[in-house]
């Protein structure tokens, strides 16, 4: 632990790391002064709306845009062919996902539409309303094709192949085996099996996908205002496919109205918008409406998983066997691919537990539905639900308390680093400490007693637990190794200006999670100034250091460490100058509260503003050869481990109305270990928001398709997200096991809540239903499914 990072000592000056401070950029949000993409208007700006396929699968015979072209305000009607003249298609595969295949995807479909909602033409007009009017006048002649909808039969020989050139509908398959699962099952006291379904759902960012692209022919520059998580990745992708140099593409990301992984992908309609800007040489805006969001934002979590677990008489887990199948739509999504979620299920099942024999297979198939890809806590909620569901089943089968069985099998604290049966390397986890803290928080024996007493009165409450691990801070082993231009490294530039204020420019981005706040905390503490003197700038590829942006909870762990290193180096540089001015050894000086002080006595020697004045305006008074570098850039990338892992455990306490199937959430707890906590309030809020998103998947959210491949849940009335009235208060507890890969020690906290909540809810519902000897394993757990399990519907 570095002297500069001592969270236990919060009394020292400028001690921001470890402290709950409000986000400096929250004020603009509450005053209506944020700037989202749709708030930006440019001269000569036009709007694009897309003609979208009403069919799940159809050949496009012809497109007649003549009537649309004659409509008021219409500037252009464009087809896939028009766009492809200046925009190259992509194939979303990664080299390290062996055998993966996908078909070329165009920005606008050419010849064939593969899901309901896929763009088949674009209309550009002077307003969005006029563009929509004209969309209704574009006449597309389709010949419908049989739609591949059921992932279970997608590989059957009788099922049509969506992309003939691929030969079949299989995009990726992976089997991992460690030990001898079959032999272990044979030797086990009990083996239980269950099949789980995690419902297809989607992110529903309140700000829809938004992009405003402007191409200036005069300097061959594409400037894109984009609601995105990864500006530099988008810069690379747009440059490549629009045949520009990366340097000629600038991506600016202002305020983002929620992303959750939804906005880290390349969307064909957004690339088309940029292509249209390049064609027209003027600004083009595309703001997805909610119906478009529901059918074209990536979906996720559409998995069927059959799992088996073996246990000994004493509750020791002997083996876990997982067979996962997922349908990802007709194309793997660029550039991260749609095989990662299934791959994560293989990597993460059984994650918290110490057992020897593990086999897991994922089969990723194509279908004619909206493409799926990475969404908050990629694969984690699935792996966690399956693992924790199996653990509860095993406990029930051998008559053991679920807490006792977990305690028996959780990886022991202090036994790290170690490698899991799935091949994941854990640097340091704290499952036992988290379980202990959770038990103290929930008063487990009392809760069980209350449950038993209420059952006598016909009130059915349940307690559900879910231990989890969360993969964060990925190295290039996640994407870069597979050939994607997705940076695992991130940078931060820190600069002191003449008045002693500090500007930090970072490659990670603000999505509302508080990135800019924690960067300000880190830089303020690292340099030794008040947080109010630090300005943070993110989200502009022409301004900030290169970086990967925000995903996999990497903002704090990667971006934060780069900021800390840059801040510490700036401080050293300042003290070198100060030493020359004050005739002192730089190492005998320190900076606190924006002033250079004697390290030993704390006596103020000089204000940073005075130092700045001299450096910037009277440099003539300083020694000729004195370095006065008051701007420093540092980059950080993890090197020792392919990924960081965080861990934790959640608990849900809820009541099932056995006459209506309604679930009432009474309370929820999460104890998690995200390594070094930079801002406890922000971590708590990440966990709470994540938990509620997980609850959404467990109880409400479902993209439901009919037999023709039509999405029936296209409005916010039909696709149900969690609202305030039904959500419980959520208690958050922490254990801190900093990573030793960085000075800062932060691991990331963005996805823990979402990872564990669905499993905790499922286990709690099944605990409540236990007297009826029934259970539910298909999310979302609707009244219908619960009453069905009870034989009442």
């Amino acid at each position: 632990m570095n002297e500069l990072v001592r969270p236990s000592d919060l009394d020292r000056p400028n001690s921001y790391i470890g402290r709950s401070v409000p986000r400096p950029n929250a004020r603009k949000l509450v005053e209506g002064r944020a700037r989202y993409v749709d708030d930006v208007s440019l001269p000569r700006m036009v709007h694009v709306a897309f003609v979208r396929s009403p069919h799940a699968h159809a050949t496009i015979l012809s497109i007649d845009g003549a009537a649309a072209r004659a409509m008021p305000g219409v500037i252009k009607v464009l087809t896939g062919e028009n766009i492809s003249a200046i925009c190259d298609p992509w194939v979303a595969v990664l080299a390290h996902l062996k055998g993966m295949k996908s078909a070329p995807q165009h920005a606008i479909a050419i010849g064939k539409a593969c899901w309901q909602g896929e763009a088949v033409a674009a209309v550009v007009a002077t307003s969005r309303a006029l563009a929509e009017d004209a969309v209704g006048q574009v006449w597309v002649d389709y010949a419908t094709l049989p739609a591949v909808l059921d992932m279970e039969t997608a590989l059957d020989t009788a099922t049509p192949v969506i992309h003939a050139e691929l030969g079949d509908n299989l995009t990726f398959q992976r089997q991992h085996e460690k030990g001898d699962v079959e032999a272990a099952f044979k030797a086990s006291h009990t083996v239980v099996e269950a099949t789980f379904h995690t419902g297809r759902h989607t992110g529903v960012c309140l700000e829809p996908r938004s992009i405003l692209a402007d191409f200036n022919r005069a300097d061959n520059q594409l400037t894109v205002h984009h609601s995105t998580q990864a500006p530099h990745m988008m810069q690379a992708v747009l440059a490549k496919h629009l045949r520009l140099n990366e340097g000629d593409v600038r991506v600016i990301c202002g305020d983002v109205g929620g992303s959750f992984g939804i906005k880290v992908h390349v969307y064909p309609d957004e690339v088309a918008t940029c292509a249209i800007a390049k064609l027209l040489g003027r600004p083009v805006k595309f703001i997805a409406d909610r119906f478009e969001s529901m059918t074209t934002d990536i979906h996720a979590r559409d998995h069927r998983i059959t799992g088996r677990i073996g246990v000994d008489r004493d509750g020791a887990i002997t083996a876990i066997d997982i067979d996962d199948r997922t349908g990802i739509g007709p194309y793997s999504v660029y550039p991260r691919t749609s095989a990662i979620e299934g791959n994560q299920v293989v990597n993460l099942c059984g994650g918290p537990y110490d057992f020897a024999h593990y086999r897991a297979k994922t089969t990723v198939v194509l279908q004619n539905k909206t493409p799926t890809c990475q969404y908050r806590a990629v694969g984690h909620p699935i792996a966690c639900a399956v693992t924790e569901g199996l653990v509860d089943l095993a406990a029930e089968a051998i008559g053991m308390d679920p807490v006792a069985l977990r305690r028996r099998n959780l990886m022991k604290d202090g036994t790290y680093p170690r490698v899991s049966p799935a091949g994941m390397t854990f640097e340091g986890l704290s499952h036992e400490a988290c379980l202990d803290q959770l038990m103290a928080l929930i008063h487990y024996p009392e809760l069980r007693a209350e449950q038993a007493a209420l059952r006598q009165r016909g009130i059915y409450r349940g307690i559900g637990l879910a231990s989890f691990i969360e993969l964060t801070n990925p190295s290039p082993f996640m994407y870069g190794i597979g050939g994607a231009r997705i940076s695992a490294q991130d940078g931060c530039t820190v600069r002191m200006d003449p008045d002693g204020s500090v500007v930090a420019l970072s490659g990670v981005t603000e999505q509302g999670q508080g990135t800019e706040a924690i960067l300000a905390q880190i830089v303020a503490e690292g340099v030794g100034v008040s947080m109010s003197r630090v300005k943070v700038i993110t989200g502009d590829t022409q301004v900030t250091p290169y970086g990967g942006g925000t995903w996999a909870s990497r903002g704090a762990g990667i971006g934060g460490e780069a900021a800390l290193q840059a801040a510490l180096e700036l401080k050293r540089n300042i003290l070198v100058v100060a030493g020359a001015m004050l005739q002192a050894e730089p190492t005998a000086l320190d900076i606190t509260g924006g002033e250079v002080v004697d390290k030993a006595t704390g006596q103020v020697r000089m204000a940073l503003a005075e130092l700045g004045r001299i450096v910037y305006f009277r440099g003539d008074t300083l020694p000729k050869d004195l370095a006065r570098e008051l701007m420093v850039t540092r980059h950080f990338i993890t090197k020792d481990y392919p990924f960081s892992f965080t861990n934790g455990i959640q608990a849900s306490w809820l009541e099932v109305d056995t006459d209506t199937g309604m679930v009432k959430l009474l309370k929820h707890w999460c104890v998690e270990d995200c390594g070094r906590i930079i801002n406890p309030m922000l971590v708590d809020e990440q966990v709470r928001g994540g938990v509620v998103q997980g609850i959404g998947g467990a109880l409400y959210e479902h993209c439901i398709y009919d037999g023709e491949g039509q999405l029936t849940t296209t409005s916010l009335a039909d696709y149900m997200v969690p609202m305030a009235a039904e959500m419980p208060d959520i208690v958050v507890g922490h254990v801190e096991t900093p990573t030793r890969e960085s000075l800062l020690g932060a691991k990331g906290a963005g996805e823990a809540g979402t990872a564990g909540a669905p499993a905790a809810i499922m286990n709690a519902i099944n605990d409540a239903l236990r007297p009826f000897k029934t259970r539910v394993t298909a999310m979302p757990f609707t009244p219908m499914r619960i009453l069905e399990a009870l034989g009442k519907a």
């Binding site: 409000p22 509450v30 944020a34 309140l206 700000e207 109205g257 959520i730």
Partner: protein, 166 residues
């Protein structure tokens, strides 16, 4: 009283955040597009445009409404207040402070609408408990916070105002 005629453009004169505004609008334009596109008041947001998400909540003639379910053409003579106006006047400064202090805004997209709905509680439901606060905000979707911090912020402000009145 104006003659009843069928109009393809409608002239309206109204008061927005205390300022007189006159515009000619297309009948189909909803209040939020009017505020955002015609008046540059981008603090109010369109999240679904079909009346469900609550991001477009603004105050019309003293009560909160869904801005996407009101036509600008209907607003001749109306009083409209948005987050910009409330911020300028400082009437919900304490609530805004509480939102910042509790981190009740993450991405901020729902926040202006949420604040308008929450201000309604402060004005009309002085006795609201946490459940009543949750119920009153149940028409405003927030994907980021999980709602608890919002409930905390509203409850804190409600109690502080109660204390100030006592």
């Amino acid at each position: 009283m104006s003659a009843a005629v069928i109009q393809h453009h409608v002239d309206i004169a109204l008061t927005v955040n205390g300022e007189s505004v006159s515009r000619r609008v297309a009948p189909r334009q909803h209040l939020i597009d009017f505020l955002r596109l015609d008046l540059g008041l981008t603090g109010s947001h369109a999240g679904c445009e079909h009346g469900v998400c609550g991001a477009c909540t603004v105050r019309l003639n003293g009560v909160i409404v869904r801005g996407c379910l009101v036509l600008a053409a209907q607003l001749d003579g109306a009083l409209v207040e948005t987050i910009e106006g409330l911020s300028d006047r400082g009437t919900i400064r304490d609530l805004q402070d509480a939102f910042v202090a509790h981190n009740a805004a993450q991405c901020g997209f729902c926040t202006p609408g949420m604040l308008l709905a929450a201000a309604d509680i402060l004005d009309h439901q002085h006795q609201a408990d946490r459940a009543a606060i949750r119920e009153h905000l149940s028409g405003n979707y927030c994907r980021c916070t999980g709602y608890q911090a919002i409930v905390d912020a509203v409850e804190t402000t409600l109690l502080a105002r109660k204390g100030a009145r006592a």
